[in-house]
């Protein structure tokens, strides 16, 4: 969209709107970063807009204590597991919905979406009992499977939108050329919807990364996510504001990295697909 004169912004002050909005978004985040470099005495004692005696103590606490940094590793393991499971399961299903009519397809699609509407609070207790029965409590796979509840429907929804944009003639030509279905799907079809897979993976990553209620319910120690460790430490060890802030800042980093890498897909993907 380089050479065309897209729609004209509302006025000369349009840059001001975006700037003000971004400032509004960044201010609380700045405050957290600011706090993470302060000592507790400075946080509670003197009010200052930037750290007077910048310190790395808060970060070193997190990076040297296994109960802290394991939280990050646990979170990343189950988020990545969930993203892989969701996208792999959703790919064939989305293909079926985009290409074929079959018995009960519309109902099935809507029913899948209703799972996206189910409040996690409703599922917290039954999940705990179900996964206890299977001996899955406190494992990464338990959280990854639980998050499929909302991520699989979303992934199907997004991928179906992208797949419907690929002309059917491509499938038919491939079959005439003697491709089997799996070979066609992997070699020809998946590269065509690469950006859709990217967008779906992004959203699965995002919703799994930010969810806490289920992740906290299903884990006790071995697979505890970082966000749950944060809440526990705050209540137990009094108010260690500095470490809390540093832990918060570190939870923002993976998300920021992911956005940075998929930034081009997002604008394109949003426009092409469902979401």
């Amino acid at each position: 969209m380089a050479e065309t004169t897209k729609f004209k912004p509302a006025g000369n002050l349009s840059w001001l709107v975006s700037t003000l909005y971004i400032l509004f978004l960044l201010l609380p985040i700045y405050w957290l970063i600011n706090m993470s470099f302060k000592e507790n005495a400075e946080i509670t004692g003197a009010f200052s807009l930037w750290p007077q005696n910048p310190t790395l103590r808060n970060y070193s606490v997190i990076f040297t204590d296994p109960s802290w940094y394991n939280g990050y590793i646990n979170s990343i393991i189950y988020v990545v597991l969930n993203t892989i499971i969701s996208v792999l399961a959703a790919l064939p299903a989305a293909y079926a919905f985009s290409r074929y009519r079959f018995l009960g397809d519309k109902h099935l699609f809507f029913w899948l979406l209703t799972n996206r509407m189910a409040p996690p609070a409703v599922f917290a207790l039954p999940f705990f009992q179900l996964y206890s029965a299977f001996g899955l409590i406190d494992t990464h796979i338990a959280v990854a499977l639980a998050h499929c509840l909302f991520n699989v429907p979303l992934a199907v929804w997004i991928l179906e939108g992208f797949m419907s944009g690929v002309p059917k003639e491509i499938d038919e030509t491939a079959y005439i050329d003697g491709y089997s279905f799996p070979r066609f799907f992997v070699k020809i079809f998946m590269p065509l919807i690469a950006s859709g897979i990217g967008v779906a993976a992004f959203f699965c990553f995002m919703f799994s990364w930010v969810e806490l209620l289920l992740a906290r319910t299903l884990t006790t120690t071995a697979a505890k996510p970082i966000s749950a460790i944060m809440t526990r430490t705050v209540s137990a060890a009094g108010m260690d504001w500095g470490v809390l802030a540093a832990a918060g800042v570190l939870t923002i980093v993976p998300g920021a990295l992911v956005i940075y890498f998929v930034r081009n897909y997002i604008a394109k993907g949003f426009a092409l697909g469902r979401v």
Partner: protein, 288 residues
Amino acid sequence: MQKTWNNKAWFLVLPVLVLVAFSAVIPLMTVVNYSVQDTFGNNEFFWAGTDWFLEILHSDRFWEALQRNLFFSFVILALQIPLGIFIALNMPKSGIGVPVCLVLMALPLLIPWNVVGTIWQVFGRVDIGLLGYTLRALGVDYNYVRDPLDAWITIIVMDVWHWTSLVVLLCYAGLVSIPDAYYQAAKIDGASRWSVFRYIQLPKMKRVLLIAVLLRFMDSFMIYTEPFVVTGGGPGNSTTFLSIDLVKMAVGQFDLGPAAAMSIIYFLIILLLSWIFYTVMTSSDANG
């Protein structure tokens, strides 16, 4: 696209079905099971029929939480949808500004929800938070821990901060997909800024707006983590939403029967309201 009739497509859907059955159907069955039974411990259950449902439907606690939820979702939609459209209209359309805006605006979406709560809990505190401190210095009597109104304002501003970007991104995607020819035609006709918006941009954004309204409604109606971290449902019960109440009942007090009945009622309300939104917005699409 013309789709062919093929029941073998069920095999392709099978993995999703198995996954969702494991993560949704079985737990939901457990909930239904609890909602019609009573227990005195020892894993002995007695048929209770619709008692729990009646108890929930007759409790003030449930209706008050429901009202809070409805009011919250209404305010959130009324603020975020127009604001999101407005910001999307004013976003840069090309150049270095686009990726910068996209990345910075998407940032709040990828922060874990309890960290969002923590950020605002700290930000709003009158002793160590920038917002609380500044308001205090300006002479505003602001304290979200003690004043229900301040607690509500804090939670609403927090949610606007957290989720408006989703609406912005969706609307922006809708806007960039409008072919240039539409604008040229409008220019030749001498259309005003407002008519361009009303007759070109808004209709073209309808699809993404539907998604935005549905997602924002569902998620604001299920809100749990952020207010739980910031206010813990207080002061008093003033920010106790349905999910906070539900978790309190199920995990805190272990009242399985009422909690299960409430879960089902809660889920049905979301389904019903989402279905109404969906039908209204898609049928108005068909009419014009």
